[in-house]
């Protein structure tokens, strides 16, 4: 039994969860030109000019490590400030676990200058530094690197630590940055779009990258009035291919099936889909949602966040989780504002730009899905308990 008791984030929308949320409901696409001049001088391979228009810039001029650390601390501060003072004390003095979810977000400061491979991973020292600067004492820490499913995989581990009584509370941190390493890499894979991120659109052509940090507090006891209960979270891997899920979507389906209520009463209100706007991924998500819900007579609303803040890689699941929680708290939904024409082969119904949003949606729950390289997938079901 675990509760989401607080969260904070920074993203291209700004340095607060409110900026992120207001951008989503206002339909704001926060992409803007990159400033390559501030990137490591060692980068010699030019980034294709067609990408410059829609990629996210760094949020500040500091080095990548300092930038992400500052923003992680800022996300944590938002979270801590949202807690009552008694809960802040309980958190700081209690049995705390901390998990950092990331992919390559911290690597650029190190890798371009290296003459030999770094001996230690680049993520763990950031977690150590975060704990020091936040003055937090953790009984248990680790870093999860399940690619773009890292945040939800961290939530799986957090729930396990709490269930076993190893800790009472887990702070999930998530961070990834846009730097030359990932831009070059994803460019080589031809998944970066020169257009906009149009999840589930008939003319989707990939995503632009985004930079974000997030802090999500998961607790054994319900301490927030919002009552956001993690009903279930699960992960599954299929190893079908390195960069894409199987056409059948078997692994994603298994991950989702594990989080469905035991009695199969799938009265699901909303899905925050991964929605990378790549041809294969969106198609697989649609197929799985259709089989599990639409063909069974359930028609949850489906939306996503990548059109607004880009694909924030390991942090994307945490941002989607935060967006879902905000929807439950405010009883407002947002559309996929860059998408007007859904792929005609798709079976599900999406909240597109031209679709009227329900004014009184009465949302009680939502599902988040994440798909990661290596065929690692995850899903979480969150409910609002009155």
């Amino acid at each position: 039994m675990a509760w989401i008791s607080g969260f904070g984030c920074t993203s291209a929308a700004g340095r607060s969860k409110e900026d992120f949320w207001q951008g989503l409901i206002a339909g704001q696409d926060h992409s803007r030109p990159l400033n390559f001049e501030n990137w490591p001088a060692q980068v010699t391979v030019p980034v294709p000019a067609s990408m410059k228009a829609y990629l996210q810039p760094r949020l500040s001029e500091e080095s990548q490590k300092e930038n992400l650390l500052l923003n992680l601390l800022h996300s944590w501060q938002q979270l801590e400030n949202s807690l009552k003072s008694t809960d802040q004390l309980t958190l700081r003095n209690g049995k705390l676990g901390v998990i950092l979810a990331s992919t390559k977000g911290f690597i650029d400061d190190v890798i371009w200058k290296a003459s030999v491979p770094p001996a230690l991973d680049t993520i763990s020292p950031l977690l150590t530094e975060f704990l020091k600067q936040a003055e937090l004492r953790a009984l248990r820490t680790t870093c999860v690197s399940n690619a773009c499913a890292s945040s939800l995989s961290a939530l799986c581990l957090a729930e396990k630590w709490i269930d076993l009584g190893l800790v009472d509370n887990v702070l999930i941190l998530a961070a990834d940055a846009v730097g030359p390493f990932v831009v070059q890499g994803f460019s080589s894979l031809r998944v970066l779009t020169a257009e906009k991120t149009k999840s589930f659109s008939k003319d989707r052509s990939g995503f632009y990258l985004g930079e974000a940090t997030a802090a999500v507090l998961v607790t054994k006891e319900r301490i927030a009035e919002d009552g956001l209960w993690v009903r279930s979270v699960a992960m599954d891997a299929e190893g079908y291919a390195v960069t894409r899920p199987s056409q059948s979507g078997d692994s994603l389906r298994r991950a989702i099936e594990q989080v469905l209520p035991a009695n199969k009463s799938m009265n699901l209100d909303l899905i925050v889909a991964h929605g990378t706007a790549t041809v294969v991924n969106d198609s697989v998500e649609d197929q799985v949602f259709s089989q599990l819900f639409y063909q069974q007579g359930f028609k949850p609303l489906i939306t996503g966040t990548k059109w607004s803040v880009g694909h924030t890689l390991a942090a994307s699941g945490a941002l989607d989780l935060i967006a879902g929680c905000e929807m439950l708290k405010t009883q407002k939904v947002f559309s996929i504002a860059n998408t007007t024409d859904v792929d005609p082969s798709f079976q599900c119904s999406y909240l597109t730009a031209d679709r009227a949003l329900p004014q009184t949606p009465t949302l009680k729950n939502f599902l988040v899905t994440s798909l990661g390289f290596g065929g690692l997938h995850a899903a979480a079901w969150v409910e609002k308990i009155s």
């Binding site: 491979p117 290596g374 065929g375």
Partner: protein
Amino acid sequence: MIQMKLFRQAFEYPAKAEPKWASTVERWYQLDAAAFGLVEVFSQLKSELERPPTFLILASPGSSSETDFQFVQSGAASPSKFVHTLPSVRAAPLLQVMKWQGPVLCVQNDPVTWLSGIADGLSYLTDSNALVWVLTVHSKACGSANNAVSLAELSNDTVKKKFSTPNMETFLIETTIPEENSPTTQLTNDTDFWNWLENERKLSFDSKAHGFRICRHT
């Protein structure tokens, strides 16, 4: 009491000949050292393993730094190198050769990645049927004497098994650490843990920071 069967095996990379499992993994020759090593060692080991795991942890000391370095050194334009800069990607060829699908958690926590991977593996021994694998690639680039893979098979079964493979040993793990004390060695990093496994014969290992004690099954 929990049993840990530990297998360690060195591997050569790059391969000098086509591996036996080559037909199972598309473009096997593009695998990085870690991905290759996991598949190669699993293939050598599989006859010793009784059944597939219920949960799999990939604990990656050094993350993918060797491949990260090669990606940059080669001009940062190779998609096949880039994909292996994500530690999770090494799960894909392994699962193909294992013919297995299920939950996989990729962790890194240097300098205690291996230790904390085992600690998290213990968390997933939720019932009597649970069998957790903690797979770790020890890379020369990250200080290991040679490229090697360790497979820690965690189970609630305490009946000692006999193995035909010389590099396999059995350990017992206590997850509740008593206050009183038989001789122990407290270790704080993966390298010391490795040395302890190699050299010590009598002492038990105590990792209070990660919540378990381990000793040789005699």
